[in-house]
């Protein structure tokens, strides 16, 4: 099997990521949240709980990158007690960078709300086939937090 096409795809993703970091002058002490726009509630929960992710990563701020206009508008209205920057990203770029992220090991401090993109991303199935809520999925699956605060547990 010829692996060249797939390698090129990943290299492109890396190039897009590096371009993004340079264009937005992304500081390594910031986390990056890419809102994929596949599930509005999921994206809203990611925004709602972003502070917990920033704390866990011991970051000083966050970049929020939105594929769709609506989430861009909502994100721009958010209030956090840390510096944050909201920007747009094309679907093509987001997917390309995500594919690079899924393959590579050396890309940190970035997380995505894709549910079904990438052949082994089971987040969409977890939401569909279990009674795990979007907020719980963000806490445990996207932000990899150790546990869900008591008040947020859905019994």
């Amino acid at each position: 099997m010829n692996l060249q096409t797939d390698k090129k795809r990943i290299i492109q993703g890396k190039a897009r990521y590096e371009e993004l970091v340079e264009n937005l002058r992304i500081d390594s002490k910031y986390v990056i949240l890419v809102l994929a726009g596949e599930n509005e509630l999921f994206d809203l929960m990611a925004l709602e709980n972003l502070a917990a992710y920033v704390r866990r990563k011991k970051a000083v701020g966050a970049y929020i990158l939105c594929i769709d206009e609506k989430m861009f508008a909502i994100s721009s209205q958010k209030k956090y007690d840390f510096p944050f920057i909201v920007s747009r990203i094309t679907k093509t770029d987001a997917e390309s960078i995500y594919e690079y992220y899924c393959f590579a090991f050396n890309i940190e401090n970035i997380t995505f709300t894709f549910l079904n993109h990438c052949h082994y991303n089971l987040m969409g199935r977890i939401l569909k086939e279990t009674d795990i809520t979007e907020e719980e999925a963000v806490f445990l699956g996207t932000y990899w937090l150790r546990n869900i605060p008591e008040k947020k547990k859905y019994v």
Binding site: M1, L3, N121, L122, E129, I132, T142
Partner: protein, 426 residues
């Protein structure tokens, strides 16, 4: 930790040991994990002792990790912060290291061993090697789907085996290539009708995983694991134990895609007297009056040696023979012989013996069908992701057996545990 990675860590530790860096030090490991257990074994081999394992999960307080007591990071004393020598082997090493430094530990006293990030070119190279491994097997056996079991857990292989016939039948899979990464796992496949089993090294397994990650489903590879760490876009492991997503449930739903509540099927146990009779003779074991102890676990907490020694003595006063089930690098409990029985006849060995007492491990899955008294021990404080180890792994909920006595114990009260165990033994 993979073998080559374990060798790398061993080389680093050897250097520290030879330079006298470990002498007289308060050695503390950060993070309860299988990797930590392996490092403890290495440090023990130098004659040194690990003082504590610390963990951010406060619920682990009071448990043991390879017989080293566990406490919260927050309970490190000022003396330990100042003088401790810390070792970290974790994907989260950067954050853990930062945490220790914030607490006042000098950076020079922290050794983070986690494997260096693979570069993209290294990963591409690994994927190419993985592609060649798959191609070689397909040239040898046929152009069939490949199933890879990347974890050395024998319990995983046993569970897979119990669902295997149903899975291939439902998916019209008439032939396949089944890859495992250890001899022990290979032995477990022999209990079932699993064909075309090939054993590769753990690093070769990584090659195949990188090939799968790069090229996706067109590789014809399926990873048989409840969530493999190298597949970072699969968030499933973070939901382990949450809202009923226990070991068996995750395998059924997300690995085998069963929609219904299918029951596991044990293998038919073949007569193994030809292999077992010489063992019983050699070690003077008594049929149906022998207790086999299994004190070690790769994945879960274990109990201090003194508990087992006391239990051995008590069992012997009841007129029972006692032995320890031992792997090649494991020591038998004092006062017993260490016996290694290949996993493919382990259930028959337990049946012939009559009684099994062990901490929860993959071995327990493998012997779950044995017609014998089975006492399985779980540390009440042992958490496994989002639930207790008992909730995640108990054999009854897994459908593997309903006649085992599964006990959750408190490490602070092992006398009570001993009494309880003895009350079940005739």
């Amino acid at each position: 930790m993979y073998e080559d990675e374990l060798n790398r860590v061993k080389n680093l530790l050897d250097t520290l040991y030879e330079n006298g860096c470990l002498n007289g030090q308060t050695i503390i490991l950060f993070g309860v994990s299988e990797n930590t257990r392996q490092i403890i074994r290495l440090i023990n081999s130098y004659g040194d002792r690990v003082e504590w394992v610390v963990d951010n999960d406060d619920s682990r307080k009071g448990s043991n990790c390879y017989q080293v007591p566990v406490k919260p990071v927050s309970e490190l004393t000022n003396a330990e912060i100042k003088n401790g020598l810390f070792f970290i082997y974790s994907y989260f090493w950067r954050e853990m290291q930062s945490q220790l430094i914030e607490m006042g530990v000098e950076e020079s006293r922290i050794y983070s061993f986690f494997l260096k990030d693979r570069t993209l070119n290294e990963q591409f190279d690994m994927a190419e090697k993985g592609a060649r491994i798959c191609e070689d097997y397909r040239n040898e056996i046929g152009d069939y789907p490949i199933f890879l079991c990347p974890y050395t857990g024998t319990g995983d292989i046993y569970l897979i085996g119990t669902f295997w016939n149903e899975y291939i039948s439902r998916n019209n899979i008439f032939n396949y290539i089944f890859i495992v990464v250890s001899k022990a796992c290979s032995r477990v496949t022999e209990m079932f009708d699993i064909r075309n089993v090939r054993q590769i090294t753990q690093i070769e397994s990584s090659y195949v995983v990188e090939f799968y990650k790069l090229c996706g489903e067109k590789t014809g590879i399926k990873i048989l694991n409840d969530s493999w760490w190298e597949l970072r876009a699969n968030p499933l492991q973070r939901f382990r134990g949450y809202k009923g997503l226990y070991f068996s449930e995750i395998f059924k739903k997300f690995v085998f895609d069963f929609e219904d509540d299918i029951k596991p099927q044990h293998p038919i146990l073949k007569n193994a007297d030809d292999d077992l009779n010489p063992i019983f003779e050699k070690y003077c074991l008594s049929q149906r009056r022998t207790v086999v102890l299994s004190p070690y676990s790769n994945t879960l907490s274990d109990l201090a040696g003194v508990f087992w020694i006391n239990l051995v003595n008590q069992l012997k006063t009841k007129g029972l023979c006692v032995c320890t089930n031992c792997g090649s690098d494991e020591k038998p409990i004092e006062g017993t012989d260490g016996i290694f029985v290949p996993l493919n006849i382990a259930p028959q060995f337990i049946e012939k013996s009559g009684c099994f007492i062990g901490v929860r491990s993959g071995f327990c899955d493998c012997i779950s069908a044995a017609n014998a008294q089975k006492i399985i021990l779980y540390d009440r404080k042992n958490r496994f992701f989002n639930c207790s180890a008992f909730e995640y792994f108990n054999l009854k909920n897994m459908g593997l057996c309903d006649d085992a006595i599964e006990i959750e114990y408190d490490t602070a009260n092992t006398d009570e545990l001993t009494d309880r165990i003895l009350s079940y033994i005739k």
